[in-house]
């Protein structure tokens, strides 16, 4: 069956901070130059912001470059940070640590990134950008010369067996002079581009963390708008890179979350249950007691930093934002970098697309511009902080202090990364971890959590979590690692079911929060996360 095709100057995959910034800056430049430039953004979430999840404290630096008048335009940055606290937790005590310089938040704002992105979407549409939520880019299209031609959106109404159902609608092709991939961390199309164009040659493997977040409405007595708090230490052991964030937003809301580095080695570890346990610490519990949990979600994030940045352009396209790995780990922020990369991508794209003479198929100017920008410098300076935590929490803190205060990020060496999926040890070599049962007040089970993420996928569709080899979950993962996917998945997608014929892996793909952790952490890289039918996934409000 042939698909319909539409032509644009630029097609952007993903309506997050980087993709929308690229779109906005392109239109701003076109308007200023009096030129026509068609820009289309596709987004797999049911609306702009539906799949966005972040802490979030954002640094408005890149936003101010995009819209110097962002305040007048009503950007939803309503809660300036008023205080920063950094704590080290033990089982029942909390010790105040000096806040590391990167974590100082003067001039920054506590936001719901989902709402910021919804606002960016409105700004983009006002400038003439066409945004299509509910359409998932499922395939990269190539020209005869091997350059990227655009993308195709997924077919809708396909039955479980892969056959067209009664409401079948084939996807359509979006062709573009340049295609921008802004899929966020571990983009499913970006993954294919990495191998097709060898974009990771010479770069360290990307490393990741999983962030699990809840939004709460707390008692007014304990609420302190503008307060940010980060913790390290308990409940994770010192060999695990993990910590929490707790941000007091407006309207008595508190965003709380826990991030666990996916290079953890003990397969018995469950990031979800570490988070639930974290909230029961006396210092933390008091914030949430008597409060109400409003929302829940999870998302993987990049931790590789400078060493792991891939080649950023290839014939016909570019990588921007988190799919390229722009996140400042010690700063615990990525939005400003995602937006900055979008600005630089748009500037380079515009020059390329409006150049009168001959241009090649690749926008080389993007990486050049980025390397001249503050983003590159910022990423370079902190490059050794995250990998130093291979020496444990105390070793990492000690090294980070040395690197930050004494060497000021100018160490003559660069520490390297290993791929997260290679780090798991055998279950039999590790101590099992016993997690407390959820109490239903402060801590909860997975399914009641997924319920409030408003996640849904059209029921009759092929499973979007594809196993390369169906025997691996039992023969390898269960046998050697005690089925780690049943623990690292924050949505209970993976379940071992005992059948009379023996154990079987059941995949509850409908629960999937699109966090991508399984694609990252599966020890043999047997799980391929592909986009489900457009519009499926979480419907986060205010996350």
């Amino acid at each position: 069956m042939t698909r319909e095709a539409m032509e644009y100057d630029v097609v952007i995959v993903g309506a997050g901070p980087s993709g929308l910034t690229t779109a906005i800056r392109l239109k701003q430049l076109a308007e200023k130059a009096g030129k026509e430039l068609s820009v289309c953004v596709v987004e797999k979430g049911s609306e702009v912001g539906a799949h966005i999840l972040s802490g979030a404290v954002i640094e408005p630096r890149a936003l101010a470059e995009l819209f110097p008048d962002w305040k007048e335009r009503g950007a939803p940055l309503n809660t300036p940070v008023t205080a920063d606290r950094f704590l080290f937790l033990t089982t029942d005590k909390a010790y105040k640590l000096p806040t590391p310089p990167q974590m100082h938040n003067e001039g920054n704002f506590i936001v719901s990134l989902g709402n910021v992105v919804r606002w960016l979407g409105e700004q983009a549409e006002a400038l003439g950008v066409e945004i299509y939520p509910g359409f998932a880019a499922s395939e990269v299209l190539f020209n005869a010369d091997g350059s990227v031609k655009g993308i195709a959106t997924g077919d809708m109404g396909v039955e479980k067996n892969g056959e067209p159902g009664p409401n079948y609608q084939p996807g359509i092709e979006l062709h573009a002079r340049q295609t921008v991939f802004s899929e966020g961390c571990r983009g499913s199309l970006t993954k294919g581009l990495f191998s097709k164009f060898n974009l990771r040659d010479g770069a360290d493997p990307q490393t990741y963390g999983i962030g699990i977040k809840e939004l709460w409405e707390v008692r007014p007595e304990v609420h302190q708008a503008g307060l940010t708090m980060h913790t390290v230490g308990w409940p994770v052991s010192t060999d695990v890179y993990g910590g929490s964030f707790l941000y007091h937003l407006e309207n008595n809301q508190v965003a709380v979350g826990f991030v666990v580095g996916l290079d953890y080695s003990n397969p018995h570890l469950s990031p979800y249950e570490e988070f639930q346990r974290f909230k029961t610490h006396p210092e933390i519990r008091k914030v949430f007691e008597g409060g109400r949990r409003i929302s829940y979600g999870a998302r993987a994030l990049n931790e590789g930093g400078f060493q792991s940045v891939p080649k950023l352009s290839f014939p016909g396209g570019l990588l921007v934002g988190d799919t390229a790995g722009f996140l400042n780990v010690p700063k615990v922020k990525g939005t400003h970098m995602a937006m900055k990369s979008g600005i630089e991508a748009a500037e380079a794209l515009f020059t390329h697309l409006t150049f009168d003479g001959q241009t090649g198929p690749e926008v080389l100017g993007y990486a050049e511009r980025l390397k001249q920008s503050w983003l590159w410098d910022e990423l370079y300076q902190v490059r050794n902080i995250r990998p130093s935590f291979r020496w444990g929490l105390l070793g990492g803190i000690a090294y980070s202090a040395l690197d930050t205060y004494l060497l000021k990020g100018r160490a003559p060496w660069t520490l390297h990364h290993h791929a997260d999926h290679t780090q798991l040890k055998k279950a039999s070599d590790c101590a099992p971890i016993v997690y407390p049962k959820p109490d239903g007040k402060i801590s909860f089970d997975r399914l009641s959590s997924v319920f409030i993420s408003a996640t849904n996928h059209a029921e009759e569709q092929p499973c979007h979590l594809r196993l390369k080899d169906a025997s691996v979950p039992i023969a390898t993962n269960l046998a050697l690692y005690n089925a780690p996917e049943t623990r690292y998945c924050p949505a209970g997608v993976y379940e071992i079911v005992e059948d009379p014929s023996g154990p079987r892996m059941q995949i509850n793909a409908q629960n999937c929060l699109h966090c991508k952790t399984c694609d990252i952490k599966d020890p043999t890289q047997n799980i391929d996360w592909a986009v489900p039918e457009g519009g499926g996934g979480p419907n986060y409000p205010n996350m």
Partner: protein, 249 residues
Amino acid sequence: MKILVPIKRVVDYNVKIRVKADQSGVELANVKMAMNPFDEIAVEEAVRLKEAGKATEVVAVSAGVTQCQETLRTAMAIGADRGILVETDADLQPLAVAKLLKAIVDKEQPKLVILGKQAIDDDANQTGQMLAALLGWPQATFASKVEIGAESVTVTREIDGGLETLALPLPAVITTDLRLNEPRYATLPNIMKAKKKPLDTLQPIDLGVDVTPRLTTLKVVEPARRSAGVTVADVAQLVEKLKNEAKVL
């Protein structure tokens, strides 16, 4: 034959509803909104009638805030020809909506009005019936099948214990049930085309309708939480608990 399809913008069916802290209503800030699913079925049915040559024009109409325009665009992406928005920030109750719709019907003179049997937010199940009464038109509610004849329509309705078939002279009001059809996916090209279709905006005052609420909401509360169940060991224990704890035996 012209068909009028009234549609309502409601909180998306996937969203977990949350009551506002002051109990004045349901939290709507930054919550995903969508077309009432029963209305989507109504749009689909009208568009199918047009595709089958039984109707000449499908007009979608909505009443409410500015953002209802998006809902109307969705209806036009499914296949409605044009949209009318009666724009107001007022809290609209079924009787006010029915009066607005009557005014639109007087203006547009459709032969058929198809709308959802109820909206999934307030579950009132009143607007279609009130509209039929105000117009003095016959009505067929909870339709699971609609067949258009020359000057009449045959409607199969889902009722307790089976199906009921009614024949109505046109013009008429039909409200849709879940099994009438399965709405199509709006395709990208059709979403683009929908952006260019005509959309008129009116105010209630243009239609001479007073939409002031006639009912007052005292408070909105969440349903009481069910306490967790227990697994009983055997039948004897179950009987014992039903007798002594639940006291139902």
